[in-house]
Symmetry: C2
Amino acid sequence: MKTLLLAAAAAVLTAASPAAAADLGANAAALRDKALSDTTAWNVLESLTTEVGGRQVGSAAMTRAKDWGVAKLQSLGFENVHVEPFVTGAWLRGEESAEVVVPYPHKLAILGLGNSTPTPAGGLEGEIVLYRSYAAFLAAPPEAAKGKIVVVTGRMVRAQDGSGYGAINAQRTRGPAEAAKRGAVAYLLRSLSTDDTRLPHTGTAAPGGIPAAALSTVDAELLEHMADRGQPIRIRLNLQSTYNPKAQAWNVVGELKGREKPDEVLVVGGHLDSWDPGTGAIDDGSGVAIATAAAKLAASAHPRRTIRVVMWGSEEQGGSGEAYGAAHKAESPNLVVAGESDLGAGHIWSLSVPKNSLSHPAMKAFTAAITPLKVIVTPTAPRFGGSDIEGLMTNGVPFVDFNQDASRYFDLHHSADDTLDKVDPAELAQNVAVWTAFLYSVADSDIDFRALAAQESK
Amino acid sequence: MKTLLLAAAAAVLTAASPAAAADLGANAAALRDKALSDTTAWNVLESLTTEVGGRQVGSAAMTRAKDWGVAKLQSLGFENVHVEPFVTGAWLRGEESAEVVVPYPHKLAILGLGNSTPTPAGGLEGEIVLYRSYAAFLAAPPEAAKGKIVVVTGRMVRAQDGSGYGAINAQRTRGPAEAAKRGAVAYLLRSLSTDDTRLPHTGTAAPGGIPAAALSTVDAELLEHMADRGQPIRIRLNLQSTYNPKAQAWNVVGELKGREKPDEVLVVGGHLDSWDPGTGAIDDGSGVAIATAAAKLAASAHPRRTIRVVMWGSEEQGGSGEAYGAAHKAESPNLVVAGESDLGAGHIWSLSVPKNSLSHPAMKAFTAAITPLKVIVTPTAPRFGGSDIEGLMTNGVPFVDFNQDASRYFDLHHSADDTLDKVDPAELAQNVAVWTAFLYSVADSDIDFRALAAQESK
């Protein structure tokens, strides 16, 4: 029935708004081209990484980032710019160092993991027991870890779809707690990274009760070579940190109102918080920049519905997606679709849209417009749209999943190398073009993803 | 006359030793193939970087490196293994840090330069004046630098022949002294590097009287973006270091005696010292490993002359080449040829041998043997053979120049990324094969480079 109503509505409005199918396609294509040469995303990203830098939830930098977000959205002409405060747990890095002390002094490049417990002041020292994979660690006799510093050096596989990260994620997220269970005094892992630079990559672990840090891939390999000698290796580790269970955080919001249906809202964004070692250019300054620029470009064609940009305030340590979902539960039926850009600045190479929607004129206009952008439109519906829209997904809001090329992402992610110089402006612009075409095509149509999804598969 | 004598000698010895031309060529080719699958160089390099690590002249690690060198040469069957002590100046790094304090706190990745004067304890703070090239700094009004921290961010060009380094070298070597002359309080440069990782690259500067450090290329670019705002930028810099004008150092020596003319000696080596941030795998553990392995392989065919390996003990801060030349002045007429491998582990892509020698049967055997190794044999004589053989060059010892592909060298050189994992075993083996064929061809012949060079050009 809903479909019939939509068809009727489309017939009535053919020459007016929402744009007729032909206009929708032409407008989407024109906006795509405009996006490819638009510098808004680059400028937003350059501004954030230059004027704010790294911005960990709970830090003074995050407060500055929130103020930056408000000012940036206002300066770009967004309406209803505001912050939505919430409270979340925040682990903050203190003084950190590690070195081999036996067989000889050698400084190790490390970064403590989010949720790591601190070492005693001045550090701790222990003999290591080294495993070359997480599976080997789990399979080893538990007593081998007792009183030791467990080192696990499994290697992450590079993949366009980023699947190497999920495959080895337990080495970081679950390793510290498993080592704690076995009586280890600390846990070190080879960074979940595809690079070969001497920079470690941080990230969170499940709370585990022992100090835990990531080694650079280079240092992990050195320890393997040392371990080949069969002689004892002792490491001194100093990890200071603090944990604030009730840190103040904010989702920063701005809207560009639809001309006819301002209460029907598309939600798109990235996360404003980052890890501290870099300047958060790829994770996730790029997502913030892409969403902001695409919203602005799509809205420049004055579509029917409202486009809302959210700069989520605590993705790395969690909290912003849940807070957003909870705060917008009542509004969720009016949220047309949600999406998050959070895999850096690599080009979008495949995407999926809600079930049964591909044959709708709006999605036909969208997919036709992005043909030159070399994107595979997958026929299956998305399973996950991003950590920060999980709350909305739970509320039943339709969502999309735009997959960026992650081949290089894990060279940089969560490390000191997550910086502006790593972003290719042309790749960034391709993202903006895809999102612009999508936001416009949906915002200037009557597409109802819920109704389409409720139909039998076509 | 010497040529006639050589020809006569060759005629006499055709069927015996030195090897006849045909044998020389066949033996050189066989040794080349042996070298390509030999693991000695890799094993030596793995041992040095794993068991000793970084080894700066004047440090405890350098003492361990010297002991390692003696033990390694002995274990490989070298004869007359000994150390030749000398005294040299040694700058040693202490505590170091730098951060932007205005407009907001941002940690900078830096490394103090060799010969930098220390800051006052606890550091110094100053406003920066930033120039985007060394030429722009020199051309600026001198008073602009007065009381400031001078930052120069010229970029190094990547080149197979490494020529980008020489082109920009003054930015590091002369910059601090020029900034001091203009009344600056400190000097920071963009690292002389072709990489884009957040790791700075150290090196020496001419003594300049002010604290001086290298920024990672990433941090240099961030400062450029900050400077674009036209607002004051203040940096806090803490560089602690010590300088020992009379540090104990050693050249480590081993020989493989010739079977007929043991007093005619080929000298080949690399330098054992390294900068401290990495493990000195490419600069110059690779040279040490290549020279050691090539000498061992060439001597396995029992050539006529002696092959001597020298692990020079203070290249980075200077001293070992001068010391070696001075100590071996009297012996220099007996030194047939000298060579140093000191440009990492990239393959040899061109080489030059002493004037007029290419038509000699020994060089014909050599150049024929390396045909499959994709090396351009240049027709002109070498102009420079390496810092550590400068003293020998001054003494009139003939020398060679084997040019390695430096395309990636300056991504790693003098940084924490100078580590074993960056070395490609196949590239390392190509170097060993070229040096092996050369050492064998010269050692098992009567070639007299001095006599050939004294002839009119052919």
